[in-house]
C-alpha cells in the first residue's frame, strides 16, 4: 500500500463530495444518490486497509461542513457503516452485484437513521419521508458506481 491508491481514494471521495453538494432542482434533490457514501463504502471493501474508517469519518465531517446542522453527525453515521463494511469486506466482496446492492441499501438506511436520530436529538427533526428515498436510488446505482470505480481506479492496486 503506497501513497498512490490513497491519492486516488481521496480524489474520488472529493469528487463524490462535490456531486453530493452540487445544487440540483428541488424535485430531483431527494432522489440524488448518496455519492459520497457509495464511494466510501466502495473503498472500504476494495481497500479496507488504506482508507476505511478514517476515510469515512473525514468524508462525513466534510459533508457536515457543507450541510449538517451539527458537526460530526454524518461523520458518525458514515464511520459506523464504514466499520461494518471494513469488518465484513471479504463477505461483501464475494457477493454478486445484486446482493451487494441490497447490503448497500441496508447500510444507507442505517446511515440515514443515525442522521435522522441526531437530527431529532439536536432539535431539527425532519420527518418527511422524502429523506429515505435516496437509499433506494443509491442501492440502484451501486453496481454501476462500483463497476466504474473498479474499472477506472481499482485495477492496479
Amino acid at each position: 500500500m503506497n501513497s498512490e491508491p490513497r491519492f486516488r481514494m481521496v480524489l474520488t471521495t472529493l469528487v463524490a463530495l462535490i456531486l453530493t453538494v452540487l445544487p440540483l432542482p428541488p424535485w430531483m434533490d431527494p432522489a440524488r444518490p448518496a455519492f459520497l457514501v457509495l464511494t466510501v463504502l466502495y473503498w472500504s471493501i476494495a481497500a479496507p486497509r488504506a482508507g476505511g474508517i478514517a476515510l469515512g469519518w473525514f468524508g462525513g465531517l466534510a459533508l457536515d461542513v457543507f450541510q449538517g446542522p451539527v458537526l460530526g453527525q454524518h461523520a458518525l453515521a458514515l464511520a459506523l457503516i464504514t466499520y461494518i463494511f471494513v469488518r465484513e469486506h471479504q463477505k461483501i466482496r464475494s457477493k454478486p452485484a445484486f446482493q451487494q446492492a441490497l447490503i448497500v441499501f441496508a447500510a444507507i438506511v442505517i446511515y440515514e437513521f443515525i442522521v435522522f436520530a441526531i437530527d431529532g436529538w439536536s432539535g431539527h427533526p425532519i420527518t418527511s419521508s422524502a429523506r429515505w428515498l435516496h437509499s433506494v436510488t443509491s442501492a440502484m446505482i451501486w453496481p454501476f458506481a462500483a463497476a466504474f470505480l473498479t474499472h477506472r481506479y481499482g485495477r492496479s492496486s
Binding site: 476494495a46 461523520a75 458518525l76 464511520a79 459506523l80 422524502a130
Partner: protein
C-alpha cells in the same frame, strides 16, 4: 465485481483493529457533536472549516456560473440594448418615486416633534453573489461570497430588492451561509401592514410559501395583505416587506386559521443578495434579543405623554378599533383620498371622546417608504398636505401615535396598552406577541 484490488491479509495496521478505531472515531464525533450543539466552542473550528470548504463550494457552483457568464457574453447587442432601455425606464420610475422622499422625511420628523430627520436605518449595504444554493424541503440555504473579511457577522439581515431573504447563519472568512426565511427551521416575526397584527411567519421548506401557524381563527387577515418585519426578535429591523398573504382558510373546527403567504423576495431566482448593516441606535433598528430590553431605542423618540386623542386621518396602518374604528377601516380600505382624510381629521375636537386609533400602526419604513406607501394605498402619500392646514392640535396626535408604534415594535406591552385615557380595543395581539428569539 471481479477486480477488487487489495487482498485483506491483515487489517491490523497502524491504529489498532477496526473495532478500536471505530470506537475512537465514534467517541470523537460524539464529543464534537456535543460541543457544537450545546456550547459554542466550535464556532472557531467551523470558521476554519468553512474557509477550507469554500474552494469546493466555488468549484460546485462553477458550472452554473460559467453558464451564466457564457450567456452574458453571447447576449446579442439587441438584447443588451433592450435590457439597457428597460433598466433606464426602471431607474426613472424609481427616481420619480423617491423624488419627494427627502421632503417627506423632513415633514415626518417635524410631525413627530424631532429636531432633525432620522437617518435611514440601513447604514451600509453590500451586494454579495450567491455562490451555492441548497433549496430542498429540508434545508433552504444559500452561500454568499462575503465573510468576516467584509465585516459580515452572524445573524445579519439579507435582502434582495423585493424583500427579506434571510439571515446569516455561519460566517466564514470569505463566505457566509444564509438561512432563508423559507427554511423550515426559520421563523421571522412579522406584522400585517394593514392593521398591525403581529405574528410569526415560519418557513415551509418551499421557496414559494411561508406558513403563519399562530393566527387565531378570527384574526383579521385577508388574501393580499402585506407582511412586514415587526422588529421583534432582534435580527431584522421593523418595516421591511416580507411576504404577501396568498391563502386564508378558516376551519370551523380548528382554533387557528390556516394562512399561507408568498415571499416577496425572488428566492429561487436570485443570483445576488444584499447584506445590510443597520444603525444600532436607530429606533427602528432590531433590538437585542430580549424584548424587555428597550435601551436600544433612541431617547429622543420616547412616546410623548398621551395628548387628547382624536380620530385622525386613517393612516396606512390604522387598526380596526371598536365603534368608529370600523369606519376608519372602511375609509382606509377605500383608499382615502387626500380630501377625504382632511374631512376625517377636521372634526377632531368634536370627536375627542372616541376611542383612539389603536397604535399598532406599522412603523413606516424609512428607506423603502415609496413601496410601502404604494402598497398601503394612497393616504400616506397624501398626508403631508393635510396637517399643514390643520390647527396645530392635530400634530401632537400624530406625534403621539406614531412613536408609540415605533416603540411598540420593541416593547409589545407599550403597544398593546395605548397610553390614552380611553381604553381602545386594540386588536388582539396574536400569540406571536411574545415570539421566541429567532433561531440563530
Amino acid at each position: 465485481m471481479a477486480a477488487f484490488g487489495t487482498g485483506a491479509r491483515q487489517l491490523q495496521g497502524r491504529g489498532g483493529s477496526p473495532g478500536f478505531r471505530f470506537t475512537l472515531y465514534a467517541l470523537l464525533s460524539i464529543v464534537i457533536m456535543f460541543l457544537d450543539e450545546r456550547s459554542h466552542w466550535l464556532e472557531n473550528a467551523r470558521y476554519f472549516l468553512q474557509a477550507a470548504a469554500y474552494p469546493v463550494q466555488l468549484a460546485v457552483s462553477s458550472p452554473s456560473a460559467a453558464w451564466s457568464w457564457l450567456q452574458e457574453s453571447f447576449a446579442t447587442r439587441d438584447e443588451l440594448r433592450k435590457e439597457n432601455n428597460r433598466l433606464r425606464a426602471q431607474q426613472r420610475a424609481i427616481e420619480i418615486r423617491s423624488m419627494r422622499f427627502d421632503a417627506l422625511q423632513k415633514e415626518n420628523a417635524e410631525l413627530r416633534g424631532l429636531k432633525e430627520a432620522l437617518p435611514a436605518v440601513a447604514e451600509r449595504w453590500e451586494v454579495a453573489e450567491v455562490v451555492d444554493v441548497e433549496l430542498n424541503s429540508l434545508r433552504q440555504r444559500v452561500l454568499l461570497n462575503r465573510g468576516t473579511s467584509n465585516g459580515v457577522f452572524k445573524g445579519q439581515a439579507v435582502m434582495d430588492e423585493k424583500g427579506l431573504l434571510g439571515q446569516t447563519l455561519h460566517v466564514g472568512p470569505w463566505s457566509s451561509e444564509v438561512i432563508l426565511i423559507t427554511d423550515p427551521e426559520h421563523a421571522v416575526p412579522v406584522q400585517i401592514e394593514r392593521n398591525g397584527l403581529r405574528t410569526i411567519a415560519v418557513g415551509a421548506g418551499d421557496t414559494a410559501s411561508l406558513a403563519l401557524p399562530y393566527l387565531p381563527a378570527n384574526a383579521d387577515v385577508k388574501t393580499g395583505d402585506l407582511l412586514m418585519t415587526s422588529g421583534l426578535g432582534g435580527v431584522f429591523p421593523a418595516g421591511y416587506p416580507v411576504a404577501r398573504i396568498t391563502e386564508v382558510h378558516h376551519d370551523a373546527v380548528q382554533p387557528l386559521a390556516q394562512v399561507r403567504a408568498a415571499p416577496l423576495a425572488r428566492i429561487d431566482l436570485d443570483r445576488e443578495a444584499v447584506l445590510v448593516w443597520f444603525r444600532p441606535d436607530h429606533p427602528a433598528a432590531p433590538g437585542t434579543a430580549t424584548m424587555s430590553d428597550s435601551k436600544t431605542g433612541n431617547a429622543r423618540i420616547q412616546p410623548l405623554p398621551a395628548p387628547p386623542r382624536a380620530v385622525t386621518a386613517p393612516a396606512a396602518g390604522t387598526a380596526p378599533a371598536a365603534g368608529t374604528g370600523a369606519e376608519a377601516r372602511t375609509s382606509a380600505n377605500a383608499g382615502a383620498s387626500g380630501s377625504k382624510s382632511t374631512a376625517a381629521a377636521k372634526p377632531s375636537p368634536a370627536a375627542k371622546p372616541t376611542p383612539s386609533p389603536t397604535t399598532h400602526a406599522a412603523v413606516p419604513p424609512r428607506e423603502s417608504g415609496a413601496s410601502a406607501s404604494e402598497a398601503a394605498g394612497t393616504p400616506r402619500a397624501e398626508r403631508p398636505q393635510t396637517p399643514r392646514s390643520e390647527p396645530p392640535r392635530s400634530k401632537p396626535t400624530e406625534t403621539g401615535a406614531s412613536p408609540t408604534a415605533t416603540e411598540g415594535a420593541k416593547s409589545p406591552a407599550a403597544a398593546a396598552v395605548p397610553p390614552s385615557p380611553e381604553p381602545a380595543a386594540p386588536p388582539k395581539p396574536s400569540p406571536a406577541a411574545t415570539p421566541p428569539p429567532e433561531q440563530q
